[in-house]
């Protein structure tokens, strides 16, 4: 079996972050979070444990809603969704998320798709995992240009949910709403604290020598590269195809080396 690919590290980290949830919802353009949720379900199935429900927007296979696209939000409002993912064109040190655009709104210099359900789900879903592969100062900024969803709310504002963790292509952070701010939990293989500091536009707490993000064992990898990738193909065909190509390339590289 070839070495663990960076995206596989992320997918496995997501599966761990989701451990214990009864129901996780995944947005329409989120193949890595979806893969993480599917991996968790596959691991639970193997262990004979209760399976988490997974709702993937836009999927037919992985979606049990029958009341249209409003049902996800109603379900979350009722407290029936434990975890959700948010990306962000910009994310700042207070956990604020910007999905709308860079520069002065509304004439944004760069326009992103829009806030989607974030301005609601961030308030009501207990375990929101912020996920963005690109870890650069242009993404992780001191202050977002537009608040699609705020990291914390003033006292007296209805708030049952919010940021739980921030996962990037370089590391994993936890969120402390009392600060409010992020704390670096672990660093992915191939990166270090200096690298992360230079790539992050906000201050964050950290150990002097942060630990490395845990890697998946062989059985987890086999599940991920087999059943999970097959499941993923229905909703994210282009992504699944790319993952397969990456494996082939990695395998060929291994053959060359050996």
């Amino acid at each position: 079996m070839s070495a663990v690919l960076p995206r596989e590290v992320l997918i496995c980290a997501i599966a761990r972050l989701l451990d214990g949830v009864r129901h996780v919802a995944v947005g329409a353009s989120s193949p890595i979070p979806a893969a993480g949720a599917m991996l968790l379900r596959a691991l639970k199935k193997k262990a004979g444990a209760p399976l988490p429900r997974i709702s993937i927007l836009g999927s037919v296979e992985h979606n049990f809603f029958t009341n249209g696209s409003a049902e996800l939000f109603d379900c979350a409002g009722q407290g029936r969704i434990d975890a959700f993912f948010l990306g962000g064109g910009q994310i700042d040190g207070q956990g604020n998320v910007n999905l709308v655009g860079a520069g002065d709104y509304p004439g944004s210099t760069v326009r992103w798709p829009g806030s989607f359900g974030s301005a609601y789900l961030y308030f009501v879903v207990p375990r929101v995992i912020l996920f963005r592969e690109e870890h650069t100062p242009r993404v992780f900024v001191d202050k977002v240009d537009f608040i699609s969803a705020p990291g914390v709310s003033a006292d007296g504002v209805f708030r049952q949910g919010g940021p739980y963790a921030l996962l990037t292509g370089k590391g994993l952070f936890a969120f402390d709403k009392e600060v409010p701010g992020f704390r670096l939990e672990s660093v992915h293989p191939g990166h270090d604290l200096d690298d992360i500091r230079q790539s992050t536009g906000f201050e964050f707490a950290h150990e002097e020598n942060p630990q490395q993000t845990a890697l998946p064992d062989a059985e987890t990898l086999r599940l991920l590269r087999g059943d999970v990738l097959d499941e993923l193909t229905e909703t994210y065909p282009a992504f699944a195809e790319q993952m397969r190509k990456d494996h082939e390339l990695a395998l060929k590289a291994c053959e060359v080396v050996s």
Binding site: A28, S29, L57, G58, V60, F65, T66, N67, G68, S69, A70, E71, F73, G77, L99, V100, G101, Y105, P106, G107, S108, T109, R111, W112, P113, G114, S115, F116, G117, S118, A119, Y120, L121, Y122, F123, V124, F146, I147, S148, A149, P150, S153, A154, G156, V157, F158, Y236, P237, A238, F239
Partner: protein, 269 residues
Amino acid sequence: MVTTLRDMAKQIERGMSIALPVDYAGVSMAMTGPIIEHGAGDLHLICVPTGGLQVDQLIGAGLVRTVETSAVSLGEAGGAPRFNDAVKKGSIRVMDATCPAIHAGLMAAQKGSPFLPMRGLIGTDVLRYRTDWRVIDNPFADDPDPIVLIPAIKPDIAIFHAPVADRFGNVWIGRRRELAAMAYASTNTLVTVERIVEESLLLSETTAAGTLPAIYVTSIAEAPKGAWPYGLWGEYPTDTAEILRYARAARTAEGFEGYMQTGLMEPAI
């Protein structure tokens, strides 16, 4: 009731508000060409709750004044090029929303209520820029409890695509209830379908539960593969390669024109 795509497009008048569904719910891509050909501009698009290819193409064709939406994107194919360009140039006005707020506005209209309250939003710039939304103090709470009110959204026309209609104008929408929500809230609803059947969909309990009754439907027209290159639930998958091809072509205004003119509005059946 049963008509043609071109005749349906003629019901659109300059300045109207048009509700269009999310890319996986049943987008009537077959109507995009006739709408552009008809040419009624200055449209106010309401994306339920987000927009994609159709919205991007209507913007690219210069027919759109305002987009009320929670997002516009081409999904896996990336950002919506004509939308992004129009925002940068300031040639369209965007009323940024969040998905459940669009649903709340339609739900208010469905009930004939002036507004619906919803959680979340407080402290966001989405709320800050939506001067048409209000924050009140929950009158039922003992302690101060601010909550947002979303006014009813009443589109002039809803347009979507579904697998089946019967000749009486009943449309089978299955579990895609946002299509019903759009129709309830809108003055007129134009539906394209894969096929029109003879027998009433209301005769069987199995199909009746997932059927939008004709009372909410203004016109239907047959359009096989009418969601292409989007997929249609239970019928055919999304043609991702075609959407990627559009995404590449429409990076420039010229590329967009070229794509739209070369007869690519026809599905490759």
